[in-house]
């Protein structure tokens, strides 16, 4: 029973003890690093295999369809069939392409997707590296994706890819700012950038304390990873597939893996920052429950993103940029300011995480910001409609 309570930690201990029996110390370290590294790299692949199936099923149900149901029970092996198909496809490099850059881009983007997993806390102590700048690390790794996408778009020597790359620059740079601001709010409130500690200090999930930051982060993260309704980078009805239109076979597969790896990663980071991570009932009794709570919460976030994809049309580029700069940035700036003020009220030395009073004040401020934003948006829409004489807008 005791073994089960700390299942994963004990598992790691006994594994170390077992290989320690026939390996020197440095060998044990090397093997452990290798195992952790392999797990991290495999994460995006596993995420892709499960999430593609899930996305197809979810969107299928949304669209009155059954979704995949031929390969395996409930079609769960569909993703493997797709993977095999992708592996045996011909690898085409367009004749006008810049080959080194063209080949480097998928590696870089998949690498960035894998790196993101290093700071995701699956449970207490179950984190690749509890970096003291974990939150910043997330942003830093995300910015590498931008470069990979530009490289892919430029090197393909295709106009649709280039247009996709143009959009990438505008979109990713713009949405990085609200994303950083909303992360900064969480960092401010918890007083730490370590992802593990953020969870530890999240007595109440921040989604109920900082709803503005949560919404901003989710939208900005959806834009950063090119999910609907911000999927302008690959907008298949406009620029076909955008930056990776010329890729095929395994290289295309890497983009796919990066997309779903990033999807799971942003869901995991949302869970960490706003949904209380691995916290949940009975975790203090049985820490092994933590990872399950974590995955369940992440999947819930992913489901919301898939739901949005299945139902909403896409923004236009100017509307999307205006949304980032005129709505998300002011709202999250106001939120950051309010959080800073609140945290100075009744501040105790050596305080870890917000007190109850502070949390209530934060919530009040957030609700006020939401209300003001909604009010201003509605008024702007009506004014705009009145200017152009549209009815019913």
């Amino acid at each position: 029973m005791d073994y089960l309570r700390n299942f994963f930690v004990n598992l790691a201990r006994s594994w170390t003890a077992w290989i320690g029996g026939f390996l020197p110390d440095w060998g044990v370290n090397l093997v452990n690093y290798l195992v952790v590294g392999i797990i991290l790299v495999l994460m995006p692949v596993i995420a892709t295999l499960t999430l593609t199936w899930m996305e197809r099923k979810v969107i299928g149900r949304i669209q009155n369809r059954i979704g995949p149901n031929r390969v395996g029970p409930w079609g769960i092996f569909q993703a493997f069939a797709d993977a095999v198909k992708m592996l045996i496809k011909e690898d085409i490099v367009p004749s006008g392409a810049d080959k080194p850059v063209f080949n480097l881009a998928p590696i870089l983007i998949a690498g960035a997707a894998a790196l993101l997993w290093a700071v995701v806390p699956f449970g207490r102590g179950m984190i690749g590296q509890n970096l003291n700048i974990g939150a910043l690390y997330v942003v830093a790794v995300g910015s590498i994706t931008t470069i990979a996408v530009i490289m892919a778009g430029w090197s393909s020597n295709n106009k649709f890819a280039l247009l996709g790359a143009f959009r990438v620059v505008a979109q990713l740079l713009s949405y990085e700012i609200p994303m950083v601001l909303s992360i900064a709010t969480v960092v401010l409130v918890t007083g730490t950038m370590r992802m593990g500690d953020i969870v530890e200090r999240q007595v109440a999930p921040f989604i109920v304390v900082l709803p503005v930051a949560f919404i901003t982060y989710l939208l900005a993260a959806a834009a950063e990873t090119g999910r609907a309704p911000f999927d302008l980078l690959e907008a298949d009805s406009e620029i076909v597939a955008g930056y990776f239109v010329e890729y095929s076979g395994l290289k295309f597969g890497w983009f796919y893996i990066a997309e779903y790896g990033n999807l799971f990663a942003i869901a995991a980071i949302t869970t960490t920052l706003f949904l209380g991570g691995w916290r949940g009932p009975f975790v203090s009794v049985a820490p092994a429950l933590g990872p399950f709570y974590f995955v369940i919460k992440s999947v819930a976030v992913i489901f919301v993103l898939m739901w949005i994809r299945g139902t909403w049309p896409r923004f236009r580029i100017d509307q999307m940029l205006a949304f980032a700069w005129k709505v998300l940035v002011p709202a999250s700036l106001a939120n950051l300011l309010w959080s800073a003020i609140v945290l100075q009220i009744g501040r105790q030395p050596e305080q870890l995480g917000p007190t109850i009073v502070q949390m209530i004040l934060l919530l009040v401020g957030n609700v006020a910001i939401l209300a003001v934003t909604g009010l201003l948006l509605g008024r702007a829409a009506r004014r705009y409609a009145a200017q152009h004489g549209w009815a019913g807008a």
């Binding site: 969107i59 949304i62 669209q63 009155n64 369809r65 106009k159 649709f160 280039l162 247009l163 143009f166 959009r167 609907a228 309704p229 999927d231 302008l232 907008a235 298949d236 009805s237 406009e238 620029i239 076909v240 994809r309 299945g310 139902t311 909403w312 049309p313 896409r314 923004f315 236009r316 580029i317 100017d318 509307q319 829409a381 409609a385 152009h388 004489g389 549209w390 807008a393």
Partner: protein, 584 residues
């Protein structure tokens, strides 16, 4: 000659025609089938007709190859204030080099149609801004609608052809024709060296004009080919777009990838064979196509359609309109990036209606259901109940879902308001028709303006909106579904018992007296017209389709300029094209 008798029938003293007092020498002859106009004065006369007489709508342009001359035919109507048809006919006696002035300066809607006449008939229009081939490619030799045109692997003048298996063995077409494989190219043309002609896009690329935004900042235009392989062009349609950044600064539609010269095929088919071919025009709404064609031929034959058949026809046509609009709305959302969900919801209802079609006609998409004088088969038992259930119970609920889920969506609204605006005057001048015209604030509906079949018996509103943007087009289509349901309720209630074909033996070969007829219906996508010229033989002498989506595309450039690439796709989606009809 038959042709002569048609043309000169009931000629009046042309000199005394009232139009000649304004534009002297314009009307050469006034026949029963229209005014024969001098090519030299036609532009003046057209301008006068548009500005003073209210013929602001150039509905159809076509041409006929008579033995002595080429005849170019313009069908004019009034759209702002409905007027009956006025037909202008221009006879070009120089058969070696037929030239006439273009009327695009008067009606922009003549643009694509004159290009089509040039392409297929070889009549040159002087002053046309962009007289290139439109349906055929540059390497095509000859003009296929001319009577002396012999296509490669030509079989015979007209159907029914002789057997391809004369002695039980197949014989290749090229072995039977005397000139064998006569594929030929224009002089100086090498198919192997052919490249996409960039030169023809100089206009939209602005090569000849200085580009810049007024600040002295020069921006470079990029030519982007949207299509023919593109997920949002609704088929093999190609938009050549010049962009500065994301902004569209030039657009050139390229079509004809699906061209099979439907009209030439129609001239070789017998009349009754053609019905099946009309199914393939706008393959989403085959029933409407059938209806338009049989109406044209019935006009020539002077047939009386039994009451029950009329009602069935109206029911089928309105069901078709619902299908077409559901698909148009659904795929508009697809173009907006809504990932197929609305489209599939529309498809689900379409399946139910197609079930009804299958029960009545035996086929789901290619119904081939109408016949001259009636319909092919009576409705099976229980059909009306199923239709009633659909019309009274199911579809209104579905429409409610659509309204709740789609119309209020903020992203959808912000994407469609003010996008692709056409004013009422522009829409009329560009010969827009159907929902495109009505969304620009012109309440013009053929069912009202010139009722055909039994549409004058039904109560319904002509849906129209003033905005003229994509939102208005969406709204008009949604509203028209409600009106179709209204008509369907009345028609299903009033459906009488009785025969479905006129009395007499079933005819496999109809006899159509010599003459000319133009029948137009309000198809789901716009004004669908069928122009049939008969010389008394089993095959039509000339057969022309006024394809609404083809002509609606004329304004695509006008609507798209100044918008973003993403909007170009949406505007095209709101035109609701079907390439089977555009390319014919």
């Amino acid at each position: 000659m038959t042709a002569e008798t048609i043309a000169t029938a009931q000629a009046t003293a042309a000199a005394s025609h009232p139009y000649n007092e304004v534009v002297p020498g314009a009307v050469l002859e006034a026949t029963k089938t229209g005014l024969v106009v001098s090519p030299d004065r036609i532009v003046e006369l057209a301008r006068y007709l548009r500005d003073e007489q209210g013929y602001d709508y150039c509905s159809m342009v076509t041409s006929i190859d008579w033995p002595q001359y080429f005849e170019v035919v313009y069908y004019l109507y009034g759209a702002a204030t409905p007027k009956d048809a006025l037909v202008l006919r221009v006879r070009l006696t120089d058969k070696a080099n037929p030239v006439m002035p273009s009327l695009t300066s008067v009606w922009r809607g003549a643009d694509f149609q004159e290009r089509e006449v040039y392409d297929l008939m070889g009549v040159r229009f002087e002053g046309h801004p962009n007289l290139r081939r439109i349906l055929l490619w540059e390497g095509f030799e000859g003009h296929p609608l001319r009577k002396d045109y012999k296509e490669p692997y030509f079989e015979e003048e007209s159907k029914p052809f002789k057997s391809r298996h004369p002695d039980g063995a197949h014989q290749w077409a090229e072995d039977r024709v005397p000139w064998k494989d006569n594929v030929s190219y224009p002089v100086g043309w090498d198919p192997d060296l052919w490249r996409s002609p960039e030169v023809q896009y100089r206009r939209i690329m602005g090569v000849d004009e200085a580009t810049g935004n007024g600040d002295g900042l020069r921006t470079e235009r990029i030519l982007v080919n949207m299509g023919p392989q593109h997920p949002s062009t609704h088929g093999v349609f190609r938009m050549v777009i010049a962009v500065e950044g994301e902004n569209v600064v030039g657009l050139e539609p390229e079509m004809g990838y699906l061209h099979r010269c439907h009209e030439k095929i129609g001239e070789r088919n017998t009349y009754i064979m053609n019905i099946a071919f009309t199914d393939r025009l706008d393959y989403v709404s085959s029933m409407s196509n059938n209806l338009g064609y049989v109406l044209a031929v019935e006009k020539l034959m002077g047939l009386q359609v039994p009451e029950r058949a009329e009602y069935i026809r109206v029911i089928m046509a309105e069901l078709t309109r619902i299908i077409s609009h559901l698909i148009a709305v659904g795929f508009l959302f697809n173009d907006l990036g809504a990932y197929f969900t609305p489209a599939l919801y529309g498809m689900r209802e379409r399946e139910l209606i197609l079930d009804l079609f299958e029960a009545a006609a035996g086929s789901r998409m290619m119904c081939n259901y109408m016949r001259f004088g009636g319909v092919m088969a009576d409705l099976p038992a229980g059909w009306v109940e199923r239709a009633r259930n659909l019309v009274w119970n199911r579809l209104p609920k579905v429409m409610e879902d659509f309204e709740n889920l789609l119309s209020g969506n903020e992203i959808f609204q912000s994407r469609t308001h003010g996008v692709g605006v056409l004013t009422a005057a522009e829409a009329i001048n560009y010969s827009m028709s159907g929902p495109m015209l009505r969304a620009s604030g012109v309440p013009y509906d053929v069912r009202r303006a010139e009722p055909y079949s039994i549409y004058d018996r039904f109560e319904f509103d002509v849906c129209s909106r003033p905005e003229g943007d994509v939102w208005a087009r969406f709204r008009v289509r949604m509203d028209e579904i409600y009106q179709s349901l209204r008509i369907l309720k009345q028609a299903l209630d009033g459906l009488p018992e009785g025969p479905i074909m006129p009395p007499g033996k079933k005819q496999y070969q109809v006899r159509v007296p010599a003459g000319e007829a133009y029948a137009r219906i309000e198809g789901p996508k716009g004004e669908l017209g069928f122009f049939v010229v008969s010389d008394g033989k089993p095959n039509p002498y000339r057969y022309h389709v006024r394809a609404p989506t083809f002509i609606n595309l004329t304004s695509l450039e006008k609507m798209t300029l100044g918008h973003k690439i993403a909007d170009a796709v949406v505007i095209l989606g709101a035109v609701d094209i079907v390439l089977g009809e555009v390319d014919r």
